[in-house]
Amino acid sequence: MNALTVQIRPDTKPILIAAGFILVILGVGTIYTLATQGAATLLSPAYLIQQLQTGAFLGLVAAGMMLVILIGHIDLSVAWTLTAAAMTATAVGGPWAIPAGLGVGLAVGLLNGIGVAYLRVPSMIFTLGVNAVLRGLMVAQTGGFAPQTAATDAMRFIGAERVSGVPVALVVWVAVSLAIGVILTRTAFGRSLYAIGNREAAAYLSGIPTRRVTCLAFVLCSLFAALAGVMLAGYSTKAFQGMGDAYVLPAIAAVVIGGTHILGGRGRYMGTVVGVILIVLLNSVLSIMQMPEAGRQVIYGGVIIVMLLVYGRGERATS
């Protein structure tokens, strides 16, 4: 209303803080590279685009994860959903590789959705179980070794190639992001996610089909994880055991750093995008600075905790 006192909505604040922290990371990294190499490598378009390309895989997983977190649930099966989709896609090969990979995602999502929404099993347990089952199935399938099959050309195209300098994976991430942005703000399904996350009983009594919405959120989450898997297999030219393990916790962290409430109901999609970029850059800069693995883990975890403490303080002050 008042143009002079621009009110920052409470769910925008974490996004601004996270965006500010991205600048801090870039600044610190640049000081380091200037001191050691005499060049501002981190600010070159080539480096940044490379980071966004890497971030696209995490971004897709986090996008799906956000939908599930918004309704107050969690999906811990994304690691092996991603891997299973990638392995299936490379095993099937040919024109059906990508549909087969996405089909795996659809099936896992339906299973998760039915288990959580209709059978009322807590999502943390159910998806953890599904994750273990998927891992077992994949190990049985491949005999515990990396599958010998390679990614198809189409998978390589969406995962690794660039069109006039822009990585296709980045384009896919942007397209998915736009779609989710519209879904969350402009559709009944999106509104229902927030309503369920805030108070499922009130949403149910308002005539919102809560079970169907919950199920659909899990399906979308698994589908995006599967898409990320197919693309990641294309990027690394093949699928391998444990390729998804590095995505579960960073995806959850990205969603939460972006300001989405871990218990659901609050958060903007833009925050998740910023959270993904923050995590990818943090990892990259720490490795450029030749921080040993142990130190990287400590800093990485510390950053997540500190950011959440900062958000928590702000919230208490305003309520």
Partner: protein
């Protein structure tokens, strides 16, 4: 008598909102002091300050003449100031005994002494005449009215010198209210100071020695009981003249039914209910709390599974599997607990208003921002909801305005059968009257209304007919002038045969 607790010059602001402004207030030992005012008048803030939940911006408090500050509720408790809040503070998954002793459980060798805890709970519940509540049962399994009694027992366990009841009787049955009255009278004789907040005038008449009226954060006046008429008191509260409390009932023949219920049954809690409501009619559901009235509403709304019997709405069979089905059949349910069932509290007023009407504000798969804004503005105007900006969280509204949001949300769906589950519990007089008028307008516009209330006054004032329930059955249906408090109470206790042999 010198006051037990005195406040002077207390002010409190929340952001830009002035909750209390330079308030002087005192309460004496051995007396029951009623605090009156509409929602948003500052009563809740007053209580929160006295009980240490929030700190005043300015002003001072004295206890027994000595200056005192309560930085936390625990500090207030230690000084003997105990509050029974409107929102229940019980842990649903702990037992009654656990809850009653939760802040200071009896210990033996450093561990909680479960047996002593149980005996303590039994003794406290017995003081309230609630021997029927098993201290070993989980709070979740108790009906709302029993939970409220447990809440009161928990407060008594802290040996209050100043006991504050904030709408503590709003969920109680008539019999429990009697018990609470007796308990309060006893405490008063023992010299306890009691602050009593209620929206029910007859309770205040029955109990209070002194009355204070608050309006817009100011202490308007304090007077002894009997010095003002009810009408004067209500005018002081709302600061304007009031119209007749209930809108007149139209005189006309009974309309043909639009909702017909035959032999409705559910899980042994509803037994062979048969009734009907027509367009333009308000049918009240009366009786003691927990006789199946809520279950009737939930069964009609598709929440309960395994409902037997036949229901038809406007001639079509009605077997909803979920509230979504019921909504499609043009039913609306105003649920019992607006905070957990009616509203998504952290979400905005606007988002709450449209939560049941996505199909009405969408064009194709997308929500039309223009239509949404018009729908929200229309709802806010129609119910005169006092709201700064539709983007504000609904939790920032007063109780009465929150309830208006719940009702407005459902009116947006243009329901033809409206089910209300005690919609005026804990809201102020002014809003209550608006709701009564609205119900009559909706009925006149052709809606059929099923109205459950724990307040007999309301049933008498609002309803064309009242079906009194006892143990899952309708024991009697009252109509017109036959709707009297005596008739409702007699039927509610299922003693009509003895009381009124004409209705064998």
């Amino acid at each position: 008598m010198s006051p037990f607790l005195a406040l002077s010059g207390i002010s409190k602001r929340y952001g830009g909102v002035r909750a209390l402004e330079n308030v002087d207030f005192a309460c004496a030992p051995g007396s029951i002091h009623a605090v009156l005012g509409e929602n948003g008048a500052g009563k809740s803030t007053l209580i929160k300050i006295v009980s240490g939940v929030v700190q005043p911006d300015t002003g001072a408090m004295t206890l027994d003449g000595a200056p005192v500050r309560f930085p936390t509720p625990a500090a207030a408790n230690r000084a003997g100031v105990v509050c029974i809040f409107q929102e229940l503070s019980l842990m649903p998954d702990l037992t009654v005994a656990d809850n009653i002793s939760i802040s200071d459980p009896p210990r033996r060798l450093g561990l909680i002494d479960a047996r002593a805890q149980r005996r303590r709970a039994e003794a406290l519940l017995a003081r309230l005449g609630c021997e029927d509540v098993n201290p070993q049962i989980r709070v979740r399994d108790l009906p709302l009215s029993r939970r409220q009694m447990v809440e009161i027992a928990k407060a008594l366990g802290k040996d209050p010198r100043l006991l504050i009841l904030d709408e503590a009787t709003s969920a109680l049955t008539a019999a429990d209210v009697e018990q609470v009255y007796r308990m309060l009278a006893r405490l008063k004789e023992e010299g306890t100071a009691i602050l009593y907040i209620s929206h029910r005038m007859h309770e205040i008449e029955a109990l209070a020695d002194t009355l204070s009226v608050f309006r817009n954060g100011r202490h308007v006046e304090t007077f002894a009981k009997g010095q003002r008429t009810n009408r004067q008191i209500v005018e002081a509260m709302i600061g304007r003249d009031i119209a007749a409390q209930y809108p007149p009932k139209p005189e006309r023949p009974r309309p043909p039914p639009s909702l017909e219920v035959t032999d409705l049954g559910w899980a042994g809690r509803l037994k062979d209910l048969t009734f009907s409501v027509g367009p333009g009619e308000i049918l009240g559901l009366g009786g003691l709390d927990g006789q199946g009235q809520k279950e009737v509403l939930l069964a009609l709304f598709g929440v309960l599974k395994g409902v037997t019997g036949t229901v038809s709405v406007e001639g079509r069979p009605h077997r909803p599997g979920s509230p979504a089905d019921a909504r499609r059949a043009a039913l609306a349910l105003i649920p019992e607990d607006r905070k957990t069932e009616g509203l998504m509290l952290p979400m905005s007023v606007g988002d709450n208003l449209v939560a049941a009407s996505f199909d009405r504000i969408a064009a194709g798969p997308f929500i039309d921002a223009d239509r949404q804004r018009r729908a929200i503005d229309e709802a806010i105007r129609r119910l005169q909801i006092k709201v700064g900006d539709p983007g504000d969280p609904v939790s920032t509204l007063s109780g009465g305005n929150q309830q208006k949001v719940v009702i407005a949300k459902w009116l947006m769906t243009q329901p033809r059968l409206i089910l209300l589950n005690d919609p005026t519990r804990g809201i102020d007089v002014g809003t209550k009257q608006e709701i009564y008028r609205l119900l009559r307008e909706l009925a006149d516009a052709g809606a059929a209304i099923l109205f459950y209330s724990t307040d007999y006054d309301e049933l008498i004032g609002c309803c064309d007919r009242v079906a009194v329930m006892y143990d899952g059955r309708i024991v009697r249906e009252l109509q017109g002038d036959a709707i009297t408090e005596r008739a409702i109470v007699a039927s509610a206790l299922n003693i009509e045969q003895e009381a009124d042999p004409a209705h064998g």
